[in-house]
Structure formats: C-alpha cells, structure tokens
Amino acid sequence: MLLPFDYVRARTKEDAVNLAIEAGPNGSFLAGGTDLFVRMYDRQHKPKILIDVKEIEGIEGIECQNGEDLSIGAASPLNMLVRNKFIRSEYGLLAQAAHSVGSLQVRNRASIGGNICNASPAADTAPTLLVYEAEIETWGPKNSRLISIGEFFTGPGKTVLEQGEFVHKIRIPKKDTESYGVYLKLGRTNSVDLSIVSVACLALASGEVRIALGAVASTPIRVRKAESVLLNSKDEEAIARAASLAREMAVPITDIRAGEEYRLEMTEVMTGNAIRQALAGLAAIGEVK
C-alpha cells in the first residue's frame, strides 16, 4: 500500500511548473514511477502531491533523422528506445544501456528522463549519455535551459535541477563520424539488478575513444584522463594504461552489492574489455564498408 497523496496530471509544460512550485517540497514529478513508487512503498519518500508529466506535449517520443540531433522525450519508456530502429542502428550503445535496466515490465514503464533525474550513481543510461555528450533540455520557472550531461549530476540522488524544473527532452548530437559503442554491466544477476560496476565505451572513427563509468563514484563519471592515453596509441599497452587510469579515477563505496576493492578491480578489468570490444567493433564496421 502507498500512503495517501494527491495525483495531478500536468497538461502543459507551464502547468507542470506551476503545480510543482505550488506543491513545493511536498511535490514530486511522476513519469514511469518505477523508482518513485518503490521509494514511496518503502516510506523513504512521502510526497503529498504527484505531478504526472507524461501527457505534456513532446515529452514522449523519439525524433530522429539522419544528419540531425537525436531528440528523445524524457518520459519515453526505455523499451521505446530499445525497439527504435534508428537508435539501434545509429546509437546502438544507448539501446544496449536501456536494455540493461530492470526487467521487461520495468522497461515498459521506466523512462530515460526518470533514470537520470533519480541520479543514481548506477543509472544505466548515464554513462552512455556521457560518452554521447548528451544535452538535457529542461523546463522550469526560468523557462527552458540546456544542461550538458557532464554538469547534470551533483551527487547521489542530486542534480542541478531547481525546484519546479523538470527534464523535457534529451538531445544527443548528430553523428559526424562512424562509431561503435559497448556497454558492460556487472550485476549479481543478468536482470532486475543494479550495477556493481558499469562501463560505457564509444570508439569513434576520428580516433577518439570516450569512456564513462557507473556505480564507482558519487555520480556517473567520464574518465577523460584514461581516454587521453588512447589518442595516440591503441595498442595493448595503451589499453592497459587507460584501464589502470580508470581505476585510479574511481572512488567506489562498499555496499550490499560489492566491496570497494572488488569494484576497483572490476573497473580496471571491465574498462579494458570495453575498450577492446569497442575498437574491434569499430574495425569491423570499417571492413564491411
């Protein structure tokens, strides 16, 4: 059972902001509810007013065209991303990350916007959005703003979103070069579990390799120092060095899922594997073409 609250449906962006400001700290935005209702069920969170954003125009759906930015409505369920042909072919890493969340039932409700707004250090789509250098389009009391995903997270459960501000769309810059991405997630089971360590690696035909980590710091993190090693060399020695630097940049905690030392060790192993797989995938694209 859930404690009593009032449910209201926002019809427009302005409506949502007004309702949220009126509700103040007693209000919570609702999209898929797969995290929110769990916290409410556990009495960790006791909002008095839930503001459903799912009917706001443009907040659900995917706009994609070759040569343009990919725009994803924040309340789009993860399965919408997993099943979208354009995302699967052009932004395969995002489809992989979305697919790794929860179970099929959860992915039918859980939204990509909710995944990042909850700001779990283990949020599965976050490392992927970091390596795609996504921008978060929000709507709030000061109207619209664009926030780089690298500046979005400020701590566990914390973001730069202000009172009354919500995520409307997520934009991923258009591809100007071929790329291949790999998302590796280590959990205790293959489904319905949070990450112990996760690594997103995107190898670009320009020679750049981007790497981001989940569940090993207070927020998902991009590890640019590790990336820079791979700019000039991509041999086994450079990969090992990058993996070791990723480990140095990780500051994990010990929790119910795993200990700090295990997380550090796995960060190094998985970063190395992710780089190798991404480079091999990129090379295979080159051979096909």
């Binding site: 209702f37 069920y41 556990d42 997993v82 039932q105 959860v106 489904s191």
Partner: protein, 163 residues
C-alpha cells in the same frame, strides 16, 4: 483525492472512483475481485502482479489505477473462453510448469505479451520476456519449454522476430 476513471478490463468497460494512491494492482484485486495478479514484492522485482496494459506487460504494483484511465487492461482472468484455457495456460498445465502457482499468472501474462508482439520467438526471447518473473519452486526450464511449445504450435510462424 478522488478520480473518476474509465478503462477496459478483460474486454469490459469499467467505470470507477478511485483515490490517487490506489495502485492498479489494488484496483484489480480489491475493487474488481480479479485476484489472478498477486502482490509478491510490491516493488517491481518479482513480476507476480504482471498484467498487460495496452498489450504490454507491466508490474501493476508500480502503476496507479488513475494512470490506467482510458487504457485497455488484460489480466489472467481475461484469457481463454469459458472453460477453454488459453494456449499458454494449457501448455503450462501440459508441461507441469508450476508447483505452488503463485508466480504463474504473472508468467502467463508476460508470455502473452511476448506472443502478441512476436508469434515465433527464440528461446532467448522467451527467457528475456520472463526475466522479470521470479519463480522460487519450479524453476524456469519447464516454463520456457511450455511457452516455446505454444509459439511452435501457433499458426502464423512467418512473421518473424521483432526484436
């Protein structure tokens, strides 16, 4: 806060007044006496409460009744006709793919959701479809066999896999 909602449940139009905090699971079980969907964990981890909303499997413990306003809900009670079981239910029986049966309605609905999208799934696709349904007594091998047999015996096998 009270809301007037209308939805189709197992083919019948239902109109009701519900409080904001009433979950779809509570609405089905307590208001409509459809007790096929079970509450296991209450947190979307066990899948015992799985029903189809507009044809897609969801955990009804993580959805409000008011969120289902205007939607089409299918529960295990809506499968089959009269005394004739749905092919999935019959196959579960034929394969002895249950023991205590608590998880079974959820598994049946997850399988139904899969077969509505994809009439000829691979074994991996079946495994994925029920990956959000926990069974603590039978295990999954017989359940997967049962679902695979339904898809193999279905008439339209040429549509291919969607995922």
């Amino acid at each position: 806060m009270l809301h007037t909602i209308k939805m189709t449940v197992n083919g019948e139009l239902v109109k009701a007044e519900v409080f904001s905090q009433m979950r779809l699971l509570d609405f089905l079980r307590e208001e409509l006496d459809l007790i096929g969907a079970k509450e296991g964990c209450g947190k979307g981890e066990c899948g015992a409460c799985t029903v189809l909303v507009d044809g897609e499997p969801v955990n009804s413990c993580l959805m409000l009744a008011v969120e289902a306003d205007g939607k089409e809900v299918l529960t295990v009670e809506g499968l089959g006709e009269g005394d004739r079981l749905d092919a999935i239910q019959q196959s579960i029986v034929d394969n002895s793919a249950l023991q205590c049966g608590y998880c079974t309605p959820g598994i049946v609905m997850s399988a139904k959701g899969l077969l509505l999208r994809n009439t000829n799934p691979t074994r991996d696709e079946v495994v994925e479809a029920i990956s959000g349904n926990l069974c603590r007594c039978t295990g999954y091998a017989r359940v997967i066999d049962a679902i695979m047999q339904v898809s193999a015996s279905s008439d339209s096998q040429d549509e291919g896999s969607e995922r």
